[in-house]
Amino acid sequence: MPTFNLTVNGVKKAVNVAADTPLLYVLRNNLELSGVRLGCGVSQCGACSVLADGKEIRSCVTQISRVGDKKIHTIEGLPGLWAAKKGLPADKAASTLHPVQQAWIDVQVPQCGYCQSGMMITAADLLTRVPEPTVAQIKDAYTGGPSPHLCRCGTYSAIIDAVQIAARAMKA
């Protein structure tokens, strides 16, 4: 099997997997990053979303051979991403949460929580591009892209609240 060199959550990793393996399975099984969730497997729900160079992608349909040298972040890597942006020292970085995660906790967004990994990834992507999104822009972010992000527990209004709180925290 071919070797693929990945940068995931700031760490370089080499994995030997079939070239058509979706990134989802590599992250979950080879790199044991279980924050990435399998939902539909066909890019219809967004549960598997991760960041590739800061932009949301669906890891369930992204073959490992197509990842190239893009820097991948999962929700486990969001604190590190934020710490790097703020220039925090390593010891502080370990105890820091990304403002998106903190907002998700403050609002208590998850009900079952299964889809929320992908929801937070979308928020992190959106807030990098649009620091102060309107409700309409938030709705666009969660319904544009390859498919709408789906939550069966119906947490959409909590997500909108949390994105706005995170936006304020990131600006501060």
């Binding site: 979706p22 279980s34 497997g41 219809q44 549960a47 999962t74 937070m120 709705k139 069966r152 909108i160």
Partner: protein, 774 residues
Amino acid sequence: MISEPTLTRRSFVKIGGGLVVTIAVLPDAFTPHGTSAEAATLDATKLNSWLEIRSDGRIVARTGRTEMGVGMAAYYRQTVAEELYVRAETVDLMMGDTDRTPDGGWSASFLEGAQNLRKVSAYTYQALLGLAATKLGVPQTALTVENGVVSSAVGAGTQAISYVDLLKGQQFELTIPVAGTLAAMNAKGTGINGTAGMTVTGNPAMKPVSKYTIVGTSFASPSVEEKVTGKTQWVGDLRLPGMLHARMVRPSTLGSTLMAAGTLDRKKFPTAEVVTKGNLVAVVSPDEWEAVGASRAVAATTKWSDWAGLPGHTNLGEVIKANRVQGAKRGDADKTAAALKASAKVVSATYEQPYVKHAPIGPFVAVADVKADGTTTVWSHGAQSQGMRAHLAHMLGVPLEKMTVRWLEGSGQYGRTSLGGDAADADAVILSQMLGKPVRVQWTLQEDFAWSTGSSAWVSDLKAGLDAQGKLTALESDFIMAPGMDYRMVGAMLAGMPELPVPAIGGGPAAFGFGAVTQPYVIPNEFHQGAGARVELMKPPSGVGLRGNIMRTPGQRQHVCALESILNEAAAAAGADPVQFRIDHTKDQRLIDIIKKTATEAGWKPRPSPNPAARRTGDTPVAGRGMAVMYRFGAYWAGIADIDVVPSTGVITVKQFTIGVDPGKVINPRHLKSNCEGGVVMGMGEVLSEQLTFDQGKITSIDWTKYKIPTMKDLPAIKVVTISRDDAGFGGVGEAANSLPQPAILAAVFDATGVQPRRTPLTPDYMKSLLLKG
């Protein structure tokens, strides 16, 4: 058996069930690995089966119930902390493991499950107070407790001692009085008894609700932080040494049997293997992606018999009516018929809904490890661990003692696993037994849509009579539901393993006790029937067929849609405002209070429906509003929908939904708000877009492009209105909210257009056809 609580106190005796200070490390309970053959179940009469106090002051509380996403992980901690006078942050919660939790039980968790831990905590608190009184040499009445520290203000100075110091070096035993049994298959193998679990009995002194400081606050659930940071170990994350990944290859239709299993190209899939048992076909591999690819290859070459026994999804109402089986009755048939005959006006209508799905974001997944002697551990995300244990033990033919179900977080279930079945667990157990290795079975989304149970289609004929003054004289309903209550497991059926029989009377709702439902109104004459339907869809050669099950707010959700809809039609026929019409027909002050408060928040202006500006043509939006109420599990609900309809396109936009609830004491305002908002979104899906479609052999709505649930674009402004009462106990709020959008939006469409839709979903095409007909 019921025994009264007794307290004995001994020092340094062998641990035999007393409350002791235990080492301050997280118990093995919080790691999902390892099996537990030595302890099949806990003795629920022993205190330390329920609670542990650790030397760092943390408290471990155990419940057989599970967190399904409605906030139990917070509520249980709040309840225990309240009665023990400790901080909720110091309570660790262990849920749903059959060998490490005492009481079992199903998913409507707070009303019974938290009541168990509440009483256990109250018994323990009283015992600890007695212990402290002796130790400090003061009367119990002179003691106060805060954050787990007992203080006395008697005599010269304040004395204080923590629970940990009080218990250090000794143990006391407290017998917890319990009634009921854990789940077990009945003697005939036709059903699982004891799914309600065990109940803690007696009446210990408990903190008055008016003195609560933790219940009633928006305590943040620790499980939320774990989910947000990626620390949660979900069932699908479990990896055991030597574990194989499995993907199932399902029959071509719901009734097909296996003719020839497909083969694998060894060069392409070197470590994968095809496994068959009866009609059960699976592909396993140590590598998950190889299992995926190999299962697709095998599926493409596997031959199945033909089957075409389904009626298709159109005209289901007629099919159900033609197969009606008498169920429950409530009220007086003759008097109601006579009153209808004598009425000045009679409104008649038939409402119906197709099959809908629970449709979680994460498909079923399970891990099983079956040892050679039959000792089995299953990691499950179901809502009924003890029931699943009994179900799997029956299937495997092993004594209950050999079966352990460990619960881990999973995607929301919305009721489908509440009866202890309908899951991937059977597949995993069967494969693990055959292969002698731990097996993880991950269903695909398409498989989940096609092979899990749904919420059954129903039809209801209704009549409401009005007198000359526009008051209700009589209300009659005949509600019929397609087969439901079917929690058999696909894996067991396909493999030909022992399973439950097809549910009785076609599994109609009468079997569940909600056969005939009434609403909290005062109507002079009422007659209601709740019937099942003998639809022979469930006995195809494969044994599977189209299966109905309970879903969030089961039975009452459907009944209330029909009953509230005929009430809205009656109000319109009477020329009455629907809010006032309801207030005029009830004497229940809690219902009146929540209707009024919700209407005020919604900006409701009294007038009859339809809207004077209603129209069924045109390219511009026309506004409508509608309402519905319900009573369920001690909680009163009201919902008001404000919508727009564009007649030319048939598109309905819900602009605002106001949902009001009086659940008695509000336990956690923030989580209550979440449940209300989430329920509204889920209910909107049922009325606007959701329908399980199927042809003569198979389910055809098998992904999110074909089974459409609401997205963030569909989200209205949701206003949540609550009334909290200290004197009305606790009501259930994890469900019910999803019941209100359907009748409220059906009424709002009539208000906007003057055309009354009576079946769902209200897709644009269906709306256009309705409005054309007028």
